[in-house]
Amino acid sequence: MVALAVAGVLAVFLLYTALGGGSIELLQPSNLGGHAGTVSLTGNVRGPVTGDAKTDTGLRFSLHNIRGSSPLIPIVYRGSVPDLFKIGRDVNLTGHLEGGTFVANQMTTKCPSKYTATPKNNI
């Protein structure tokens, strides 16, 4: 009886996550190309950084793979800029591709390589 309940519960998760569109794909600049819809893009911030995230034109910079080679993806970001944002930091962006530019409205930073117990999350 217990086993059945557990199996039932697991089936519910599987259905929810597979069908419910509850998941979002994690990509890097090297495999971003051609993806439609909202995705999560992780990469390293490259300059120059121009603009203002609070204006219509947005904050503009480029994103490169954290490791390995990749194209440089132009980013337009509108929203709250996390504390640790700067050139050379690893960030995670949520948004979609528009033409060749990635338009994002959520950004989080990974703390630099050492152990820090702080999630830097702007919801």
């Binding site: 557990v6 994690l26 992780t42 800029v81 703390c111 999630p119």
Partner: protein
Amino acid sequence: MADLGRAALVVSLGLALYATAAGTLGALEKRRRLADSARNALIACFCSTAVASLVLALALVHHDFSFAYVASHTSRDLSTIYALTAFWGGQEGSLLLWLLVLTAYGALAVVLNRRLLRDLIVWVVPVIGGISAFFAFILVAVSSPFQTQVPAVDGAGLTPSLQNPYMVAHPPMLYLGYVGLTVPFAFAAAAMISGHTDERWIVATRRWTLAAWMFLGFGQILGAHWAYVEVGWGGYYAWDPVENAALMPWLAATAFLHSVMIQERKGMLRVWNMILVALAFELAVFGDFLTRSGVINSIHSFAKSSIGAWFLAFVVVTTLFSVALILWRLPLLRARTKLESPLSREATFLYNNLLLVALCLTVLWGVIFPILTEIFVGQTRTIGRPYYDFFLRIFGLPLLLLMGIGPLIAWRRSSVRALLKTLRWPIAAAVVAGGSLIAAGAGSSRPGLIAYTFSAFVLATIVVELVRGTRVTGSLFQLIARNRRRYGGYIVHAAIVLLAIGIAGSSAYQTEREQKLAIGQSMIVAGHTVTYKGLEHERTGVANETRAVLALSGRVHGTIRSGVNSYFTGDNSREVGIHTDWLRAEDTYVIFDQQQGKYVYFKVLIKPLVNLIWVAGFVFLGGSLVALWPDAREQRRLVARLALARG
């Protein structure tokens, strides 16, 4: 000095291996001297690990930069206390802390129980020895805190955002919890290996499990508070994999603490309890693996390193070991009594367990989903907040309700009539509460309303229980003192209810507003007027601090300072301003988002009842301590029982 540390760890490894080998041999051949020697080896292992820890601690305090670890995690200007907290600030040091706590718990467990439970202890020693040997091996061969280098002039320092009291308390407290779950696991394994699968291993480890669970729970609330006030995005839990790493074993341990009560009373659920305790232990180690390997895209993770593979192997091996043991002893573990009715206290405990494990598996699924999709579908997909919120409600709200029904429903079997009769006051309280809440506007969030109503119900049942019990014993103090486990448990339930109310209020009924203000301008959020008064600048030894001064008026009055610290190292860190209205347990939370010329973008959140969460943390601690409190009578009874059996 680093050589001494390295040597001490090698000695620890050797002793742990000896404890495993000699302990196994001594237990198999029933040779007392060998078993005692193995036990002593475990104690000696703690001593040598303590020496290694002392070496590292002294190196940190004396800023000995010939230690690579000291150089990369501290700097000369770091105060003593933060230099010490750097002990667990990095991978190698935190592993050493794990081993220290593990050997300390192990030594204590075998010493305290050496007379009462000899036939179990002989197997507990090699199990803990084996686990300690793994960690000692990692510390000696894979990730040593005693790497040396040419002494640097100064160290890299501790990230400024980590220099706060939370860093002092949060990780050690979590470790006391994680590692503490090893003790019941070791006793359970010992029970299965020795064939003594009755309740004695549970009775022996009950306080250990409770203590570990208490530390893990309180440690998480500390972490949530840290996130809330220091990290400052307005929330306290992000369902980040590393946060979940602590939640999962805690949920499994909560289920275990409840189901052992059934085993003690009815001899049921014995297989289930073995599975649960192994699950709690595996999740604790798995959580550690998650944090260290960086295998999941988590904001918390340590740098990726080879250590992940070792940990994964350890988790796989120990899981297979546990499964094999349970399958082997299945005939011994099979229950002798069955569930008589789906409407009984036994049944509510079972439902409680199912819900807790379901929630635990939900979180686990969410955590490993990216890995699974990467392997099977070729895409890495992550699951967001809505998934967790959905299942938290589906499983959490019924759990809340059960907390009220469980203590009042009869054992073995009950009827709907009897149940309604016992519950009449709590049901009335819930109806009244629900009605008033709807009138007050709480109907805007259905889950929030349900959470509040259920909470009122549970609080009423606890009050009813306390009132009834006090009528019998005469005083509340006597009541609690004579039944520490039960009433300590009720206090913990009250804490969980406060937690539920705090979470519901601050999430379902939160108001959020973002606006740019010039000096003199105001914004209105849920009856609060926030006026931007001016900007302050201060230069400290480590940063340029900018603070916007805001005046709060309307429902409450006060001043809030919110701004940014620009550290000379080049990093920025937002410092949020929080005004707490203790009467309403409500917070006005202001985030300094960005400056734009003479304007500043502010994000203001009104979080009702959020402070109940922190109050709940202390109530939780208090209730756990009451339940944990040693009972001289119980101890005497255990001794007498054993004497009687020996004849």
